[in-house]
């Protein structure tokens, strides 16, 4: 025998279940008066730097149906590539964190945020502008991690270390928020199937 490494195991995940909104967005599901507002409902608390954007979309199951019981969270840098709460010079009016329960009838999520600035990869290369995404719902046993990139950042996307690493390059569009005629970005997630979104093990 050898010495023990004294390492603990991460607590195993369990599905968020059908009532995740009771705990994470109680005001959204009619449990008012406990918290003044739902966490992550507002990403901007004042005038923010950079380009203000709107991202909408829905999470689809393997039959193509939009989930109406998902919870989507995002985390991102500010317009200058600084992380709120971590970088001292980050935009003080921007939280970087958003949480959306999706529309009760359609399941569509919506984030009113800013276009993130570029952030370096551990080896010093620049990553393309991106937003980290975490998705939980009934039937999802381990929260799904992915990223939102932007279709109108072709030059930065071309040199992004993660996009370059994808073996199946035809799946790159699953990570792209597509700019719409009304100026908003559309980011649809497909958990399973031919259009399956690239999910990460980060």
């Amino acid at each position: 025998m050898v010495q023990s490494l004294n390492e603990l195991k991460e607590s195993p995940s369990q599905t968020a279940g059908p009532y995740v909104h009771i705990g994470c967005t109680p005001n959204f599901c009619g449990i008012g008066g406990v918290y003044p507002e739902d966490l992550g409902a507002r990403m901007k608390t004042g005038a923010v730097q950079g380009e203000e954007i709107v991202i909408t979309g829905a999470v689809h199951d393997g039959m193509g149906m939009a989930l109406k019981d998902a919870l989507v969270e995002i985390w991102q840098a500010d317009a200058a590539g600084k992380f709120p709460g971590h970088d001292a010079d980050a935009d003080a009016n921007f939280s970087g964190f958003g949480r959306s329960p999706g529309d009760m009838e359609t399941g569509r999520f919506r984030f009113d945020t800013v276009k993130p600035g570029r952030v370096r990869w551990p080896d010093g290369r620049w990553q393309a502008p991106h937003i980290s995404v975490w998705i939980v719902a009934r039937g999802i046993n381990v929260g799904l991690q992915t990223r939102i990139y932007f279709s109108d950042e072709a030059e930065a996307n071309a040199e992004d270390p993660i996009l370059a690493r994808l073996e199946h390059q035809m799946r790159v569009p699953t990570l792209m928020a597509q700019k719409q005629d009304d100026g908003t970005y559309l980011f649809d997630v497909h958990i399973q199937g031919p259009d399956e979104t690239v999910f990460f093990d980060i």
Partner: protein, 244 residues
Amino acid sequence: MTETKTPQGGFVARDRDWHPAPFHPPYKTSVKRSPQAALLSFPTSASEITGPTFGHGVLGPHDADLIHNFTGESAIGPRIVVYGRVQDEFGRGVGGALVEVWQANAGGRYRHKKEGYVAALDANFGGCGRVITDAEGNYEFRTIMPGPYPWPNGMNDWRPAHIHFSVFGHGFAQRLITQMYFEGDPLIPLCPIIGTIQNPDAVKSLIAPMDMQRTVPMDARAYKFDITLRGRRQTAFETRPEGL
């Protein structure tokens, strides 16, 4: 509080065999809600090492008291204290971690418009609460013992009594949702959702023991539930220019 150096490395990889299987047919909803392609692995970058931070300013004075935080009147059911420590895989306490919880009432009924169980609502129980860990990673909240409940999966499936936990660590890659179960519950080995976890030791790590030492006499029993988040590597040799 002792000064501890924040590790500079990325997060240790998730052990996907310890976590539940994403595709587990006995839990029917997982069949069409599980990815089929391999996950893309890469080292954690600043986007994953950082994460949202929540100060005590987000908390109201009664957020950690589910017995009273809905109407101010006492909810019905056996009163319990749930306490524990949020730590990382190296045993370091995770201070400042936001822990959100939600649960059914004592009869096993959720306050939700999609809930289909016939058990009665409790007018004084909302079912949500939250707390932020202290500098050493400790947390504590008060609630009532949730009831087990039936759910549409197999013809006669029942969830053991449980409390749902959502935990924010220091990095977005530590984000975790799990469930706490209660020592001695005979429904635990029958549950298809717990059955998504293949390793019996992993299941055990989600079962809270009763702790008579932390019981509040004539008031509330206590259950201990420690939560472990992914650990960050400590090496000083982490950042390396390309090619070196």
